[in-house]
């Protein structure tokens, strides 16, 4: 007994924390290894085939859906990149989801909006649609002006107006490669079972290739880890757990069959991905959720700690919502998704802030109260640090053997960031995740997110649908 705590309990807690860290990193090692095997093959195949950028009237038409809430500053620029997409047949539907700034005015000034007298079919219930506009300059651009209802609600409104069988969910503050649709529609043609394709998002920077801000650099590392090391590893197993809201292509029929996007979760992308898995598995439908590792979308990341805190709090809350909504998928009959992805989400994402924070408190308390050996704690800390750096170096290596997006100096800076992020940044993100966990647990609204605020802005009663009678 030390300070009233049994010694074998202390060892058990320490051993649990040790095993937990090893298990998390074993997962990263597993997905990273798959990515290391797949990426060079993928890149060489792209280099080998020079005609793969061709586009044809035979390609499936795509509806680009852009929900916007208070995006006055960036939306026009982003839409210009979308309008410049090299693809034969696509339309863009912007949904102004009750913005309180000048988003609609900015759109009108840039694209000369005129009232669209066509029919809006409210197949999916949404908050009221106030007006629909069409650009006089770009006939393929339409704008739905509606009462705020959250991102899922805005996407559903766009689904009601969409004419085409493929739906690209985009963010109003992101930029897209001109060949985005050519690359992302290919999996649908190569495998008719494909129901969704996730694209890779990279961090946008106006200054140079790698942002100067340290917070942004840490986020570059996170994006590399998330897309190249993790998603690239899950995708070949048909176990991709999230198709990003900023860069995801979906079959419209599957979205409709699943009942459209949920409006009672703070975000919608992960929930819809899980629901599609769940739906296809439970109905016995052969399906595939594909992933394209080529970076086609660039997004602005959180520039300040406050914005980052709010963003991560929201992300984690959404994760909490998703794993509880789809808890039956864990160790269910969903193959790799149930046995690889779901355990990863539940044990190493959902519970991570609780376990890690508990571990930190335990270690500090143990050191202060003297029931833990400081030397062994330092060794444990060293292990956590080396494994964290290892994970980051894997993702930098993956980038280097595939797209080599960064120069020598930038790679060095990323390596330094990989070391530095362990001293404060990761703990800060974990704290935000813990706050997200608490917000989910106590159902607290989240305000001030850098992205979409979800359904917590006061919702109005739905307006009358715009049918002619």
């Amino acid at each position: 007994m030390i300070h009233g705590i049994r010694s074998d309990d202390i060892i058990s807690v320490e051993f649990f924390l040790f095993i937990y860290f090893i298990a998390i990193n074993a997962y990263y090692f597993f997905t990273g290894s798959i990515a290391l095997m797949r990426l060079p093959w993928y890149v060489k195949l792209h280099l080998a085939d020079p005609v793969r950028r061709s586009t044809s009237t035979l390609d499936q038409p795509v509806t680009f859906v852009v929900p916007a809430f208070n995006e006055e500053a960036l939306i026009v620029q982003s839409l210009r990149s979308m309008l410049a997409l090299e693809y034969v047949n696509f339309e863009i539907i912007v949904v102004n989801d009750g913005s309180t700034d000048g988003t609609l005015f900015a759109l009108d000034s840039a694209f000369e909006l005129e009232p669209y007298e066509g029919i809006y079919r409210p197949g999916l219930a949404t908050q009221g649609v106030k007006e629909i506009y069409q650009s006089a300059r770009y006939p393929q651009l339409r704008v739905i002006d509606k009462v705020n209802g959250g991102k899922g609600d805005a996407l559903n409104a766009a689904l009601n107006l969409a004419r085409f069988p493929l739906i690209f969910s985009a963010d109003a503050d992101s930029h897209y490669h001109p060949a985005t649709l050519q690359w992302m529609t290919e999996p649908f043609q190569q495998d008719p079972r494909t129901v969704a394709v996730g694209g890779t998002i990279a961090v946008a920077s106006s200054e140079q290739h790698l942002p100067k801000s340290l917070i942004k650099r840490f986020q570059v590392l996170e994006y590399l880890r998330a897309f190249l090391a993790t998603r690239m590893g899950f995708a070949p197993l048909n176990a991709l757990g999230i198709v990003s809201g900023a860069c995801g292509l979906w079959r419209k029929d599957i979205l409709i069959e699943c009942g459209g996007f949920r409006t009672d979760t703070i975000w919608e992308d992960m929930e819809m991905t899980m629901r599609v898995h769940n739906y296809c598995i439970s109905t016995g439908r052969a399906y595939r959720v594909a992933f394209t590792p080529y970076p086609v979308c660039w997004t602005d990341v959180a520039p300040t700690l406050r914005a980052l805190y709010n963003q991560r709090k929201g992300w984690h809350r959404h994760l909490c919502e998703c794993v509880t909504i789809h808890r039956r998928m864990l160790f269910g009959r969903g193959g790799f998704f149930s046995w690889v992805t779901m355990p990863y989400f539940v044990f190493f994402e959902w519970l991570a802030p609780v376990v890690v924070t508990g571990g930190i408190i335990f270690s500090i308390a143990g050191a202060v109260l003297g029931f833990l050996d400081v030397r062994s704690q330092l060794w444990l800390l060293a292990l956590v640090l080396t494994l964290a750096v290892f994970g980051s170096v894997v993702s930098i290596l993956l980038d280097e053997i595939s797209f080599a997006a960064y120069g020598l100096g930038e790679v060095s800076q990323l390596l330094i960031a990989a070391l530095l992020e362990n001293f404060g940044y990761r703990q800060f993100v974990m704290l935000a995740n813990l706050a997200g966990f608490a917000a989910w647990l106590f159902r607290r609204p989240i305000h001030g997110s850098t992205k979409h605020p979800g359904p917590f802005v006061k919702a109005w009663r739905p307006d009358k649908p715009r049918l002619s009678d």
Partner: protein, 349 residues
Amino acid sequence: MLFANGFNLFELIIKVSVGLSLLMTVALFAALILVRSRNAIYRRRQIVLTARWRGLFDRAASGESLHGSLPKIRKQDWFTVLAIYTQFRGIYDVAIRLGIDDYALSLLERGDDADKIVALNVLGEIRDVRALESAVVLTRREGPELSRTAAHCALRIDSSFIAGTLRLLLVRDDWVRSRVEVMLREVDANVLGAAMRDAIADAPQEALPRLLDYVRFCPADSAHRICDDVLTTSHNPEALAAALRSLAPLAQDRDHAMAVRFTNHEASIVALSALRVLRKCVRSDDRELLARMTSHPDYWVRLRAAEAAVQLFPTVELAQAFSASLADRYARDAIEQVLAEKVMVAGRR
């Protein structure tokens, strides 16, 4: 004592883990430096290589005869040179003088999928008959990129392989259609038309729609005949819809009766496609039919019927009057939708 032993063992395990992870991190770091250095050298070489070979192939393509000895290609540069070569057309002499054909042939035998794709593109461009047999064998491979490139190569070498290509199209629904378009557009349209007709005559009904989508690349009269044949012989709704879809851009007055007949088909997809044809050859006596079709339960059928109906009226006002005469609100909505689109487009012009 037990506690102390347990703790010591645990600490030992942690120390070993730290050592191992440190070792792996250092090894990975070394690999990163290695890859980074190799990439830096590779990138520099790529710039020089691309400039040199693109320049040389450009000169050859512009008709300039390249006297003297050509630069030697180093082993590690072959893939890049071949990839650059595939972007040019009709410079066979230079390729043969450089030995590009021989190297591509060897790559076809021993390389991985990406190597084989590059080799097939090169050998197809050179029209090297030595590659034909291997290309035909590779068309049966599982990967969509490799099998499609192999078919393209075989087709370039021997245009009579068009029959084989069309047979493959019946089963290869994984080939990206824009690439198939590139492939088919290289074939003489008359040759394609004849082969397409034979392929469609022999094809199973359920596979017909896949081929019918490519009928648009045949000469107009040939495409029209193919669609007519399918419409008179097939009972498969998917095939009928595909044939009507392909017929729509070519529709003439003589197709009117057939289009009207298929608007009454029980399958919505057939009625929908028939309306696309009817839109091209609509007559004033179709007014009643179209008024009925604009109340069809399927939204797209209503919309296509409205598109055809609007063609009947020279002014928007007359179309609006027609809309007002319809009792069904969905029919009115469909007309309103089409008029909205029409007015927007006209306004822009």
